[in-house]
C-alpha cells in the first residue's frame, strides 16, 4: 500500500507543476489562438520575482505581489507584441514568442548571473509531514515534504478556480462564446478584444503561481523556463490544444508515468515522448482536443 501511495503522491506532485504551466499555455491558445512559447519565460520571471520579493518582504507579500506583477507584464506583452501576430501563421507566433523567451532569459542572466538563486521555502512550508499519523492505511513511517504537498493543493485549487471562472461567471461565458466565434461577439457589441487581453493576463498569473510555488523545487535560473516549457507543451499537445480538462488529464498521465518509471532510467528519460507519440498516432487532435483543431 505504501509503495503505490507514495508513487501516486510523487506523480501528483510532478503533475502539479506541469499542470500549472500547461494550463496557462492552453488557455491562451484556446482563446487567442496563439502558441505562446514565451510562457515558460513567464514562469521563470515569476520564480525570480518570488525570490526577490520574498527575500525582501517575506513570502506573504510575494504571494500577492508576484501575480499582480505578472498580470501587468502579461497585458503589456499581449498589447505590445502578441496582438500583432493573431492573424499570422502559427510558425510566426512560435518564432516571435520563442525569441521573446530567449531575450527574457538573457536579461535575467545579465542581472542575476547564470547560476541558480537560492529560494528558501518559508518556515510554515518547510519540514516533513508524517503521513502515517493521519492516514491509517499506511504502515510504519511514511513522510513527505510539506512544501510538495502544498504545491499539489495550490495546483488543484488553481485548476478549480479557473474552471469556476470560465463556467460560472458572466466573464467566463463571454470568453467561452468568444472562443467559439469572436467575430459574432464583436458584431453583438461585446468588446471581446479587451476580454482576451485579460485572459492573457490570467494565463500569466497562473505562470506566476507556478513560479511562486514551483521555484523552490525546479530551482531559479535563466534556463528553467525552457526546461519546463517543453514537457508542458507536450502536455498541451497530448491533452488537445486549447482544452483545459485535456491539459489536466495529460499532466496527470505524464506525472504518473515519470513517477512509476523512476527505477528504469533509460525508459524514464523518454517516457513522456513515447506517450506523446502513441497518443498522437492514435488520436491526432489529442485526448480532449476539438475535432479539426491542429489535426
Amino acid at each position: 500500500m505504501n509503495h503505490i501511495f507514495l508513487q501516486i503522491l510523487t506523480g501528483l506532485q510532478i503533475s502539479a507543476l506541469y499542470m500549472l504551466i500547461a494550463l496557462g499555455l492552453t488557455l491562451i491558445f484556446g482563446t487567442l489562438g496563439v502558441v505562446n512559447f514565451a510562457h515558460g519565460a513567464l514562469f521563470m520571471l515569476g520564480a525570480y520575482f518570488a525570490v526577490e520579493i520574498s527575500s525582501q518582504f517575506g513570502f506573504g507579500v510575494a504571494i500577492i505581489a508576484v501575480p499582480i506583477l505578472l498580470f501587468i507584464i502579461g497585458i503589456i506583452m499581449e498589447r505590445g507584441l502578441i496582438r500583432f501576430f493573431y492573424e499570422r501563421p502559427h510558425t510566426d507566433q512560435i518564432l516571435v514568442t520563442f525569441g521573446l523567451a530567449i531575450v527574457l532569459g538573457e536579461v535575467m542572466k545579465t542581472i542575476y548571473g547564470a547560476n541558480n538563486l537560492p529560494f528558501d521555502i518559508p518556515k510554515w512550508g518547510s519540514g516533513i509531514v508524517r503521513l502515517h499519523e493521519y492516514l491509517p492505511f499506511l504502515e510504519g513511517f511514511v513522510a513527505y515534504p510539506k512544501w510538495r504537498l502544498i504545491l499539489i493543493v495550490v495546483s488543484f485549487s488553481t485548476v478549480i478556480s479557473l474552471f469556476t471562472l470560465l463556467q460560472f461567471t458572466k466573464f467566463g461565458l463571454i470568453v467561452r462564446a468568444g472562443m467559439r466565434d469572436s467575430q459574432m461577439l464583436a458584431f453583438l457589441g461585446v468588446n471581446i478584444t479587451r476580454r482576451f487581453t485579460i485572459v492573457f493576463g490570467i494565463g500569466s498569473v497562473i505562470a506566476a503561481i507556478a513560479g511562486l510555488f514551483g521555484g523552490p523545487i525546479t530551482q531559479v535560473e535563466p534556463e528553467v523556463g525552457m526546461h519546463m516549457l517543453i514537457p508542458s507543451f507536450l502536455v498541451v499537445v497530448i491533452g488537445g490544444m486549447g482544452s483545459l480538462p485535456g491539459a489536466v488529464l495529460a499532466s496527470l498521465i505524464l506525472g504518473m508515468s515519470i513517477s512509476f518509471t523512476a527505477e528504469y532510467a533509460a525508459l524514464q528519460q523518454i517516457i513522456i515522448y513515447l506517450i506523446a507519440v502513441i497518443i498522437l498516432l492514435v488520436r491526432p487532435r489529442g485526448l480532449m482536443g476539438k475535432k479539426g483543431l491542429m489535426e
Binding site: T10, I14, I128, F141, P145, R148, I258, A262, Q269
Partner: protein
C-alpha cells in the same frame, strides 16, 4: 651449387641491413633516455615568444559545478600571484626549484574560460585559449567528462593539461593521455578508503540503494563503491542513473523509500549532491527505520563546499571521502589556507587546493626541465615525488599520471559541533597512500606518445 661470391654478396647485404638497424636503434636510444637530448621542435605553443608565460584556466562558471569552479578560479589566481611574487606553498613544497619571480625568467599571466560543466563548451573554450591566447598549459575541472574531453584535446594539440577537480577512474584509467595529469584522487581510492569505515560504522549486513550521476564519474564511482561495499558484505539493492541536469530527485527518492534498502549512496557531486541530499532529508530518510536499522546516507565524494550548500543540519553524521580539507595542520596546507584567507576572506575548498597544487607542480616541472618544451616537462612530472603540499608525501605515478597520497575520510558535523561557518567536516580517518595504491593496469588505456598525435 651456390657460388662463393654469391653467398658473400647475400650475407654482406643482410649484414649491412642489420648493422643499419642496430645503428639506428643505438643512435635513438640515448636520445630517448637522456635529458634535453631531443631536438626541441615546435610543439603546441612552444616555443614561447615574448617574456610572458600564458596559462589557461578553464573552469565551470555556470552549471551544476559552478560553486567549485568559482573557487578553482580563486586558487588559480592565487597560484599565479605566488609564482610571480612568492608566498604560499612556494615556502613549503619540497623538492622545489620555484623562485617566486616567474618561471624560467618569464612572468606568469593567465586567461580564463567557462566550461559550463559541458564537454563541448569546454573544448571550444580550451581551443580559444590555445589558438588565440597561446597558452603553454591549461587546467581546470570540474566534471570528469569535461576533464577527459580537454585531456584528449591537449594531447592532440601538444599542450599540457593539468586537470582540476575530476574524480572518475577513467581520467587516469582508460582515457589517460600523455599530456594530461591529475593531482586529485579518484573513485577507486574513495571505495578502498570509505568501505571499511562505513562497514564498521553501520554494520556488515546492510542493503544499499545508489543514485548515480549519469556520466563518466558517476559510473566509475558507483562501480567502485559497489565493489568495495560488497567486499565488506553489503548487498546492492538497486542503482538509478540520474541525469546531470536533474534538480528534482523526488521520483528517485520515492523508489528508494519503496525498496528494502537501508543505506542510500549518493554518487552525486556539486549542486546535484546538495539537491539530492537535501531532498532525501525532506523525504524523512534520516529518521526512517528499515530492516530494524536507522537509514543512513553516504556521500562517497564529499566536500566542504557541498556541506555548506546543504547546511549542517542535513549533513550531520554523513560519511564520505575528500581530497583535502582546510583544517589540515601540516605546514603546506596552513601556508595555502593563510594566503587564501588573506586574499578572499574565507578558507579554500578541496577544488581550490588541487588546482593551486597543479599550477605549482607544472611550473616547478618547467624549472626542473629548464625548458617549456612539453615532452621534457612531462618527463619531469612523471614519477615526481613531493611533499609539503598537504596529504603528506605524494607521488605522480609515471604509468598513468595519477597522484597517490593519503586519503581523508570525513563526517559532516552537526550544528552543535561546528565552531564556525566553515567548520563543517570532521576528520574520521586517514587511509595511507600504500593502502589506496592499486595496479595501474586494471583500468587499461594508453598514455600515447610524447609528441602530439
Amino acid at each position: 651449387m651456390t657460388k662463393k661470391s654469391d653467398v658473400s654478396k647475400t650475407v654482406s647485404r643482410r649484414s649491412i641491413l642489420k648493422a643499419g638497424a642496430v645503428g639506428a636503434a643505438a643512435m635513438s636510444a640515448p636520445m630517448f633516455y637522456a635529458r634535453n637530448a631531443w631536438a626541441e621542435k615546435a610543439i603546441g605553443n612552444y616555443p614561447i615568444s615574448g617574456d610572458t608565460m600564458m596559462l589557461g584556466f578553464n573552469v565551470p562558471q555556470t552549471g551544476a559545478y559552478a560553486d567549485e569552479g568559482a573557487d578553482e578560479l580563486r586558487a588559480y589566481k592565487l597560484a599565479v600571484k605566488h609564482l610571480n611574487n612568492g608566498g604560499g606553498m612556494l615556502e613549503t613544497m619540497t623538492p622545489s626549484k620555484l623562485t617566486g619571480s616567474g618561471v624560467l625568467g618569464k612572468k606568469v599571466d593567465f586567461v580564463t574560460g567557462d566550461t559550463q560543466t559541458n564537454p563541448d563548451a569546454a573544448r571550444t573554450s580550451a581551443r580559444r585559449m590555445i589558438e588565440r591566447d597561446k597558452v603553454i598549459m591549461f587546467g581546470g575541472g570540474s566534471s570528469s567528462s569535461v576533464a577527459i574531453a580537454q585531456q584528449h584535446l591537449a594531447h592532440d594539440l601538444g599542450i599540457v593539461f593539468m586537470a582540476g577537480l575530476t574524480h572518475s577512474n577513467d581520467t587516469t584509467g582508460k582515457d589517460k593521455r600523455r599530456y594530461g595529469f591529475r593531482h586529485f584522487f579518484n573513485a577507486e581510492m574513495t571505495g578502498i578508503a570509505l568501505a571499511p569505515i562505513i562497514a564498521k560504522e553501520y554494520g556488515k549486513d546492510r542493503r544499499a540503494f545508489h543514485l548515480t550521476a549519469d556520466y563518466s564519474w558517476g559510473h566509475t564511482q558507483h562501480d567502485a563503491m559497489k565493489r568495495a561495499t560488497e567486499a565488506q558484505g553489503w548487498t546492492t539493492v538497486n542503482n538509478i542513473m540520474t541525469p546531470l541536469k536533474s534538480t528534482d530527485f523526488s521520483q528517485y527518492l520515492t523508489a528508494i523509500l519503496n525498496s528494502d534498502a537501508d543505506v542510500v549512496v549518493l554518487n552525486h557531486y556539486g549542486k546535484n549532491m546538495v539537491n539530492s541530499l537535501s531532498q532525501a532529508v525532506e523525504f524523512g530518510m534520516r529518521e526512517l527505520q528499515k530492516n530494524g536499522k536507522t537509514m543512513e546516507v553516504v556521500v562517497p565524494l564529499f566536500s566542504r563546499l557541498m556541506a555548506q550548500g546543504a547546511g549542517s543540519s542535513k549533513i550531520q553524521g554523513v560519511l564520505g571521502t575528500t581530497n583535502w580539507n582546510w583544517s589540515l595542520q601540516d605546514a603546506g596546507s596552513q601556508a595555502f589556507v593563510k594566503s587564501f584567507e588573506a586574499e578572499y576572506g574565507f578558507p579554500p575548498s578541496m577544488a581550490a587546493h588541487t588546482c593551486y597544487c597543479q599550477t605549482l607542480l607544472y611550473a616547478n616541472a618547467c624549472e626542473m626541465a629548464g625548458t617549456f618544451y612539453p615532452p621534457e616537462v612531462i618527463k619531469q612530472l612523471e614519477g615526481f615525488e613531493f611533499d609539503g603540499m598537504g596529504n603528506g608525501k605524494t607521488l605522480y605515478r609515471a604509468e598513468d599520471h595519477q597522484c597517490f597520497k593519503d586519503i581523508l575520510v570525513v563526517k559532516g558535523k552537526s550544528p552543535a559541533e561546528k565552531t564556525g561557518e566553515f567548520d563543517l567536516l570532521e576528520l574520521v580517518d586517514t587511509t595511507p597512500r600504500e593502502t589506496v595504491t592499486y595496479d595501474h593496469k586494471i583500468f587499461g588505456g594508453e598514455l600515447g606518445s610524447y609528441e602530439p598525435s
